[in-house]
């Protein structure tokens, strides 16, 4: 790469927000035909850097050049015209437009000078089929899951990136098979000479696909290194500025939960079209992991348990007494908590401060007439900012100005602050850096020891192994199996998922899907 002018180049980029330095004097180089990983802790400045490269933010200082020519994209559209396609961390699509409209927004295909929705629909189906997605492209985007929305955003960016493609944590909510498809598309684009910037917290993925990696820490560039020959430990310590204590890999010790008090039981609870009836008994001091592919009914299970959707059959009992929740509010009054998967839509209240976001659920439970005093609020917020290492310059900062991973921690704090008896976590480590990841896994273990009952949904099997005392396996909107402590390894979970998918009759899911998972596991 030496001697050749890089495809995209940034020199001395600096950005401050309200006097807080997010980037200071960062240089960055992207060559044509390379996949360049960008890594760093939550709040290191990764998203800020790419937003500056793509005109979403204005830099305070520095120079950006594309193919040797200075550029100064005024906005995202401008960057697109220059051939830079981007998927931001908070997917920027329009949820009330159809999938096809989102894919072709601002560049609708024309026939005889008129826009042709039919043509757009046809091409949308074609584009999405490359990602293994066979969905109704005329349906409104909001009706689809986070994963589908993410794939649509990626497909749009790939389709309009002529020279540079930038992806900010694109794989955060994708499963293994979808990640593989994405990667093969990226390899294609790379072969065609595109430069690709790829932000992720999954080091496996960095090693699998990237050619070089740039590490940011506290808004400064630490290094850019070729992946070949770079030790993982070295990468982590450059990123954190310290060594990471190795996670004990053996997993949670077996717990005989059947002897522990029952917090809540769900018997034959189900809702037609969403999730088949299931039985589940939650004990104090246990962590029930939930594994399954996207669309296997994991989130639907949580929604029935938390009163977001109402079951049309089955019985629920809390502390042995029959209960039914017609809203999350009632579930919360029984001591339940639920940290949702989609933090932007279901979690953050973006104009409110970090403090207000942390105390929101607790305040809602106490009722409007019993406000927490300002001092109590500040104490609670400060406690969790310290405990979860939430990186913010100020507890009064609106949460929307925090980095993605730090927002996730604030939502977690919101639920911890209510001190629930039963806590449901849907993908709690989504977008969380390796250091904090280890912390959250430790925290889950701690909560369990204190007697909390936890249900944790996760696509990361290693993570489930680390904290689950048993694992529920879901396939095709049914609970198909359960693994007991001692028998939980990534491999057994994967086989259980595949077995569940195999026995489901019919088309979507089915054998092809299961084989794919096992192949993934072997790779």
């Amino acid at each position: 790469m030496i001697g050749r002018e890089p495809l995209l180049r940034a020199d001395g980029v600096t950005k401050e927000f309200f006097g807080v330095t997010a980037l200071s004097n960062v240089d960055f180089e992207l060559a044509a035909g390379e996949i360049h990983a960008l890594v760093g802790e939550n709040g290191a400045g990764k998203s800020t850097l790419i937003k500056i490269l793509t005109g979403a933010y204005r830099r305070d200082r520095g120079r950006i050049a594309l193919e040797g020519e200075s550029i100064d994209p005024a906005d995202v559209m401008d960057a697109q015209k220059l051939g830079i396609g981007t998927v931001y961390q908070e997917v920027n699509l329009l949820p009330n437009l159809t999938v096809a409209e989102n894919l072709f927004l601002g560049r609708e295909p024309k026939r005889f000078g008129l826009t042709s929705p039919r043509e757009a629909n046809r091409r949308s189906r074609e584009i999405l089929s490359q990602y293994g997605l066979d969905i109704d492209v005329t349906a409104v985007l909001a009706t689809y899951s986070v994963a589908v929305r993410q794939i649509v955003a990626i497909a749009r960016a790939v389709d309009l990136s002529g020279k540079v493609l930038i992806l900010d944590e694109p794989t955060a909510s994708l499963d293994a098979a979808e990640v593989s498809r994405l990667f093969s598309i990226l390899e294609d684009l790379k072969a065609r000479g595109l430069g690709i910037v790829f932000i992720t917290h999954f080091f496996d993925q960095v090693y699998r696909i990237a050619d070089r990696v740039t590490i940011l820490r506290n808004g400064q560039k630490v290094a850019t290194r070729p992946i070949a020959g770079l030790e993982r430990i070295e990468l982590v310590s450059m990123m954190l500025g310290r060594e990471l204590q190795e996670q004990e890999a053996h997993g949670a010790e077996p717990v005989d939960y059947s002897k522990k008090p029952v917090v809540a039981s769900f018997e034959g609870v189900g809702k037609r079209g969403r999730i088949a009836p299931f039985d589940l008994t939650m004990h104090a001091g246990e962590v029930v992991g939930v594994a399954g592919l996207l669309g296997s009914g994991r989130t639907e299970t949580a929604e029935l348990m938390f009163g977001i959707a109402q079951p049309d059959e089955g019985r629920i009992a809390v502390d042995g007494r029959p209960a039914s929740f017609s809203s999350p509010r009632e579930a919360i009054h029984h001591g339940f908590g639920f940290c949702p998967e989609d933090r932007k839509l279901d979690g953050i209240v973006d104009d409110l401060s970090v403090r207000e976001n942390v105390i929101l659920a607790l305040q809602a439970r106490r009722g409007w007439a019993k406000p927490l005093s300002r001092k109590e609020q500040e104490e609670i917020a400060d406690r969790y900012i310290a405990a979860l290492d939430i990186r913010t310059s100020d507890r009064e900062k609106p949460i929307k100005f925090l980095s993605g991973g730090n927002q996730q921690k604030v939502i977690l704090a919101r639920w911890l602050a209510t001190d629930p008896r039963l806590l449901i976590l849907d993908e709690p480590t989504r977008g969380i850096d390796v250091g904090a990841h280890a912390e959250i896994i430790r925290l889950i273990g701690e909560l369990r020891e204190r007697g909390m009952s936890l249900l944790v949904i996760s696509s990361e099997l290693e993570e489930l192994v680390a904290y689950a005392t048993r694992v529920r396996v879901l396939a095709d909107r049914r609970h198909t199996g359960e693994l007991e402590a001692g028998a939980i390894t990534p491999d057994t979970i994967m086989r259980a998922i595949a077995a569940g998918e195999d026995e489901t009759p019919g088309d979507r899911g089915g054998k092809g899907r299961a084989a794919e998972i096992l192949a993934e596991g072997a790779a």
């Binding site: 305070d60 509010r329 279901d346 409110l352 207000e356 106490r366 609106p398």
Partner: protein, 347 residues
């Protein structure tokens, strides 16, 4: 930094008000004079406070509705209904207390109707409240049976033209109700919860906020404010005019809220801001009258002044200021803390 946040929040509105008042003084030299006669204060300033009362009252409820990301188009019509109800009751030989209580009750019912459409049926607020906006005047006409129902109960008339400690009673009303509403919403958690549902209703419901009950309460509060405004307006003319009472005032109330620095997108709100907004609008009205422009110019001039105020307040203009202060690419130093919010978060 020692300035309380609430005052800091309304500084731009106060500044705008001062500018308008200064312009008025320039146009009409006696503008600031205040006289005391017959146990009552007189003068243009007092007149502004008094004439602005209905819009100020409406703006209190409207602020709360807008904070939930809603809007209440029915308040003008609810004023007409409540004026008619009050006139009908008092001429029907009900006591003053009963008349007022029942009229306020009717206002609350109107608000609950709106709130139910929004909270339970999920109808968009602009459509939901349009129903009562259209139907309301018809209802008011049914009550007055198509005539202007006049009354001469001194107690009811006092609400519109009496005075306490020299201040016109409507002024006392809007100031007291404004302070009470601010206290209720800021000393409890209501303010925070209302802001939360306005910013992200889904996330708020998941956090356990009773979003439906809150929406009902907020629309009911708006109905209550409209009822008070309706009584004031009727008492002022000693009669209920179903056709003209409160006509177009919903628009002035919305404008007052917006000029008061509140976003139509919901979320953070300031009742004080809206009240100052109402006074700005009334000062503009009075100023135009004082200047003696031909009446056909009034609305155009008013619109122009409001456009200026809104442009100065808009996030886009903040971005522009910030842009000229530190142009990118130049080696301009950014003074710590001086950067304006430029990523669409200005407020």
């Amino acid at each position: 930094m020692t300035m309380p946040a609430t005052i800091k929040r309304v500084l731009p509105q106060l500044a705008a008000l001062v500018v308008i008042l200064a312009l008025n003084t320039a146009i009409a030299p006696g503008f600031l004079d205040i006289a005391y006669a017959n146990g009552r204060l007189y003068g243009s300033l007092i007149d502004i406070l008094n004439r602005g009362a209905p819009v100020a009252l409406l703006a209190i409820g409207m602020t709360l509705v807008i904070a939930t990301r809603g809007i209440d188009l029915s308040v003008g019509a609810v004023m007409a209904i409540c004026g008619a109800v009050a006139a009908a009751l008092i001429t029907g030989d009900h006591s003053l207390a009963a008349t007022i209580l029942m009229t306020l009750g009717v206002g609350i019912l109107c608000g609950l109707w709106n709130g139910a459409l929004v909270a339970f049926l999920g109808i968009q607020p602009i459509i939901a409240t349009l129903i009562l906006m259209v139907a309301g005047r018809g209802i008011a006409q049914l009550i007055t049976e198509g005539v202007i129902l006049t009354f001469n109960d001194p107690g009811l008339i006092f609400v519109g033209s009496g005075s306490v400690f020299g201040m016109p009673f409507p002024v006392i009303l809007w100031i007291v109700i404004g302070i009470a509403a601010s206290l209720i919403f800021r000393t409890t958690a209501l303010g925070l919860l209302v802001e939360a549902i306005g910013i992200n209703r889904r996330a708020s419901a998941l956090a356990g906020i009773g979003t439906s009950a809150l929406l009902l309460a907020v629309y009911a509060a708006s109905g209550l404010c409209a009822a008070v405004a309706g009584i004031v307006a009727a008492a002022d003319i000693r009669g209920a005019d179903a056709n003209n009472a409160g006509l177009w005032l919903e628009l002035d109330a919305i404008l007052a809220v917006v000029v008061g620095g509140n976003s139509l997108m919901g979320g953070r709100f300031s009742i004080a801001g809206s009240l100052i907004g109402a006074m700005i609008i009334q000062s503009v009205n009075t100023g135009i009258l004082l200047a003696g422009f031909p009446p056909e110019f009034n609305l155009v001039i008013k619109a122009a002044i409001i456009v200026v105020i809104l442009v100065v307040q808009s996030p886009a203009s903040h971005t522009l200021f910030a842009f000229f202060k530190h142009r990118p690419g130049r080696a301009a130093e950014t003074p710590a803390g001086a950067a304006k919010p430029e990523e669409g978060g200005a407020r």
